[in-house]
Point group: C2
DNA sequence: ACAAAAGTGTTGGTCGTACACCCATGC
DNA sequence: GCATGGGTGTACGACCAACACTTTTGT
């Protein structure tokens, strides 16, 4: 019997770590015996869920590399773990494309188009994470969490295209992101390369925390005359 | 000691029931002793979270009236309940403006602009719910869950304005929603009123389940030539 | 001079808001 | 006929995708 009279359940946290690896949006999976699973585990009594997943990730990847972490959803099907009831809260974690975390044995990046079977309902978390990321790329500055601190438009185009799963044009990508003040030119240019070509301008994100840049698709509030 | 070796925690579910009452977006709160709280409670061992909140709501409001139910977030601060650790998963529930559920003693609708102090972190759930609703009104058909099955544009305008917290014009509301095929005219008109005025056309939502109507704010996929 | 890569200008179309105007009804 | 509320037409601007064109480099 408990203090509050409520039944108690085991609770685990899982992270869908997404990053652009080799020009492809990829997810980090860990081998658990013969099966693949999302990184994560139980929630210690003295930690909130967010801290718990951070702790778990520090084992698998360099946590300082993770540029964005947000809660996705909590799964609660009664028999999702056949041994006993385990609720699971999933997080979306984004790692910049230039990060090179040392992965422990058994951990691997999988392109999101070539996912292996995973245990329990983990594939649902992955799907939800990708959907969330792709939606937010369109109306927030969440790209900052996938890009290196500094980058050329060519690099950004590669990363955003990989994340979205289709090609975007460098021209219009620049225009949109500059107009929304998501990225700003640093003034520097990249050194010259063999083969020639105009040196690319170096950009950076104006803000490295999540910001909504396009709050209203429609039904905007009336313009107050200044 | 548990089967999986994971620690166990109490878990509760809470619902932020939003509805337009008396032309104002309102939230349903229940009096618990002297303090206001969100409807909800523990999660029974044989129910998933969604079923648990549905069960709890059936006590407070007529569940069949709830037109939309979606998970918001899980709060997990270690001391959020000082008695023992209780995780809480919140849901957003929407009730059409024409629903008149019989409320039990102690339950009341509060305009979102005049919220009383609530227990623990319940106000955070309310804020998140309102934010989620307002965002989704802009790019989904979620309005169906606030409107009656059939309605005039005047009614819809009232409901959407109340939900958003600012006035939207009937003219443009119609255009946007019709263009996106969110609402369709039934062909009927309402009967005449004292005082005159042209009889209003009766509309209904084309789809009464959540649909994304404006998937890309920007960075759309390239047009494939037909 | 030529190729390669980056960046700018321009155009055409869609979308959304604002506002003027027309329509149908009661009195 | 006039007030009242409902609906349509039009204009303007913002925004975005597509594509042609110019700029800057290496060879």
């Amino acid at each position: 019997v408990t203090t509050t009279g409520l039944p108690r359940y085991a609770h685990e946290v899982r992270a869908v770590v997404l990053s652009v690896r080799a020009s492809t949006l990829s997810v980090l999976l860990c081998k658990d015996g013969r099966r693949w699973r999302l990184p994560g585990g139980g929630c210690p009594a003295d930690q909130r869920l967010r801290d718990a997943i951070t702790t778990h990730l520090s084992v698998d990847v360099d946590v300082r590399g993770i540029a964005h972490l947000e809660q996705l959803a909590t799964h609660s099907a009664v028999k999702r773990d056949p041994r006993e009831r385990v609720l699971a809260t999933a997080y979306l974690a984004l790692l910049p494309a230039d990060a090179e975390p040392a992965l422990p044995a058994g951990a691997r990046w999988f392109p999101v188009t070539e996912l292996p079977p995973t245990i329990l309902d983990h594939h649902l978390f992955v799907t939800a994470a990708i959907e969330r990321l792709r939606a937010k790329l369109s109306y927030t500055n969440i790209g900052f969490a996938l890009a290196p601190p500094q980058f050329t438009i060519a690099t950004l185009r590669l990363i955003i295209s990989a994340a979205l799963g289709y090609e975007v044009s460098a021209t219009n990508l620049t225009r949109v992101m500059v107009r929304r003040a998501m990225i700003v030119a640093t003034g520097q240019t990249i050194g010259s390369r063999p083969g020639g070509g105009r040196p690319a301008a170096v950009y950076e994100f104006a803000d490295r925390s999540l910001t909504v840049t396009d709050p209203f698709a429609v039904l905007r509030p009336p313009r107050t005359p200044a």
